[in-house]
Homo-oligomer: 241 residues x 2
């Protein structure tokens, strides 16, 4: 009787948008597995991670499978979705096939991979899980704007701006560099805090970093009242390098 080896799930960070920021390891893994899963925000939508990996796949022996991860503040629905997606992946792994879950940026930083991994632990506890780190938007934005993140004794904070309240001000005061992600809807509040702390000239916003439509805004005051692209990163340097 054949031993039914359970496959390995690779959580693969594909970088922030520029397809050249894929690592050699990510490329090897996605070209090796028979199936690459990618998240989409709703049925029929395009996949960001999918658009990066698809050109590297061989359709004669590999499949690209989309999994819906609707983003909303409805925990039971979200959890049901994660379990359902983990079952879809688990079905491949249970056949002894390896699989990749490709995710924008890095799989451990604000990625759906964390939920998939947790749900898979219940669905198929025997499955091995391996994470392949990627270049996150934090590093890509810093490079694009030539904005140093830290030197020597400096401290960095990474915050999701849309969830920040009063603690944003104390963090801006206590850290040398603050990186703000998820700026949508929060820009005016963030600008208020920056102006109060006299840091507004020490901030830069990078939108769609590494995409053809990349935009670097150094006069961040000009963003007040504007709709900010979800894929935007603000870097605030409390002091110079």
């Amino acid at each position: 009787m054949a031993v039914n080896r359970v496959g390995t799930l690779y959580g693969v960070g594909v970088g922030p948008g520029d397809p050249e920021l894929l690592t050699l390891k990510a490329l090897r893994v996605i070209q090796q597995v028979p199936v690459v899963f990618v998240p989409i925000p709703r049925a029929g939508a395009a996949s960001f991670a999918g658009s990066i990996v698809e050109p590297y796949l061989d359709p004669s022996r590999q499949r690209l499978e989309k999994l819906v991860f609707a983003m909303r503040d409805d925990a039971p629905t979200m959890e049901g979705q994660w379990v359902q997606n983990a079952r879809t992946i688990g079905a491949w792994l249970a056949e002894g096939q390896d699989a990749a879950f490709a995710t924008e940026g890095d799989p451990m930083l604000y990625s759906t991979f964390g939920h998939i991994r947790q749900a898979l632990g219940n669905v198929l506890p025997d499955a091995a899980v391996v994470a392949i780190p990627g270049v996150s938007s934090v590093h890509a934005a810093a490079a694009a704007a030539l904005a140093p993140l830290a030197d020597r004794d400096e401290r960095v904070a990474i915050l999701p701006a849309m969830y920040e309240g009063d603690e944003l001000r104390s963090t801006l005061a206590a850290f040398d560099t603050v990186v703000l992600l998820k700026l949508s809807g929060a820009i005016d509040r963030v600008l208020d805090d920056l102006e109060e702390l006299d840091l507004v000239d020490r901030a830069v916003v990078v939108s769609r970093c590494g995409w053809p439509e990349e935009r670097i805004v150094r006069d961040v005051r000009s963003l007040r009242g504007q709709r900010i692209d979800y894929f935007s990163t603000m870097i605030v340097r409390g002091k110079g390098l």
Copy 2:
């Protein structure tokens, strides 16, 4: 009369140690330029970044040049060294040749590239500078230990442990994830704080991530009193994912 175009300096992140974590872009750039500079801590020493890039270079048309960056708390000596190294690089650029400066991890996070860039701005203001982001040890350690950095509304702090004082405790209390770099000499102090905040079971240390001698320590209490490798990263999760 020929126009003497000034070359471009590429600050290239080569990742945290695993040569497969080089990006496609980093690989393209280091194979394209006639000279790749790498930092070494003292004359005659081996270069970490150099060991990653050297196998990809073509010695018949490319040179690997080592630049000494002694690490010590002596600002005038350090600055003199940065200016001297910037002049060495600037001499190539002034000839119209492009050059790469390869740096472990990411060029904007605790990298000598920041100092080279600043010194070059004085030595050769016309030189264009481009940064190629890399996978930092923060992301690599998180992937190796399968330790999530952040989800949804969570906040991450990156701190150089050896320079932290009392503020470490308040940061551990205010952030969902704290990543501690530069642990050498600081481990006992960090363990005291973790024990006081009942977080010692929520910490993991990854040393020499992606190197053959990689080591993941989940019982961090066992590190008390020990000499910790400079290339070690601690990830503390205040709450679970």
